[in-house]
């Protein structure tokens, strides 16, 4: 089963320098990600950037991930 810490590590690996916090029960997770990659991007692109760091796990092992995505200046 995925743990919040696993998801945090994957996002941090994919987005070096990002501030990431993840909570969850093994199926449903919530994450807040602050990353400079988000600057100037809309919500859709921001979520896609995070999903990309999780590879094929999103929608499979990770059933649901509520995302809050912020650029550092926000």
């Amino acid at each position: 089963m995925m743990q919040p810490e696993d998801i945090k590590q994957m996002i941090e690996t994919g987005l070096p320098g990002a501030r990431v916090s993840v909570t969850g029960d093994g199926h449903h997770f919530e994450a807040e990600v602050v990353a400079r990659e988000f600057t100037g991007k809309g919500m859709l692109q921001r979520h896609q950037i995070v999903y990309r760091t999780l590879g094929g796990k999103m929608g499979n092992e990770i059933h649901a991930l509520s995302l809050r995505t912020l650029a550092p200046e926000e």
Partner: protein
């Protein structure tokens, strides 16, 4: 017809399309339920497809939009996002504007 062609055809025939788990009457996931409730509250007509009854469509959509989860809302053929983005837009009053304008 390929699955990608089927998706394109569905998105060009209706302006507001929600791909979801289950149906608006019997949603199979809380996020899909919430998505239909928000669209319902906007007072617009929308088309839904149940991706649980069509595994090929489910996989095809993930690739079509580079978006791995459901629900997925499309307006005028463009992916708006999933439940989180819909909620954020709804709270700002922007979802209502977007779908009302699309309905014309």
């Amino acid at each position: 017809m390929s699955i990608q062609d089927r998706i394109r055809q569905q998105l060009s025939s209706d302006k507001i399309v929600l791909y979801m788990k289950g149906t608006p009457q019997f949603p199979q996931c809380g996020f899909s339920a919430k998505a239909t409730q928000m669209l319902g509250a906007c007072g617009v007509k929308f088309t839904t497809y149940d991706i649980l009854s069509d595994p090929e469509m489910r996989q095809g959509l993930k690739e079509y939009s580079n978006w791995p989860t459901f629900p997925q809302l499309y307006v005028n053929g463009e992916l708006v996002g999933g439940c989180d983005i819909m909620t954020e837009l709804y709270q700002k009053g922007e979802l209502q504007k977007l779908v009302t304008q699309a309905q014309g």
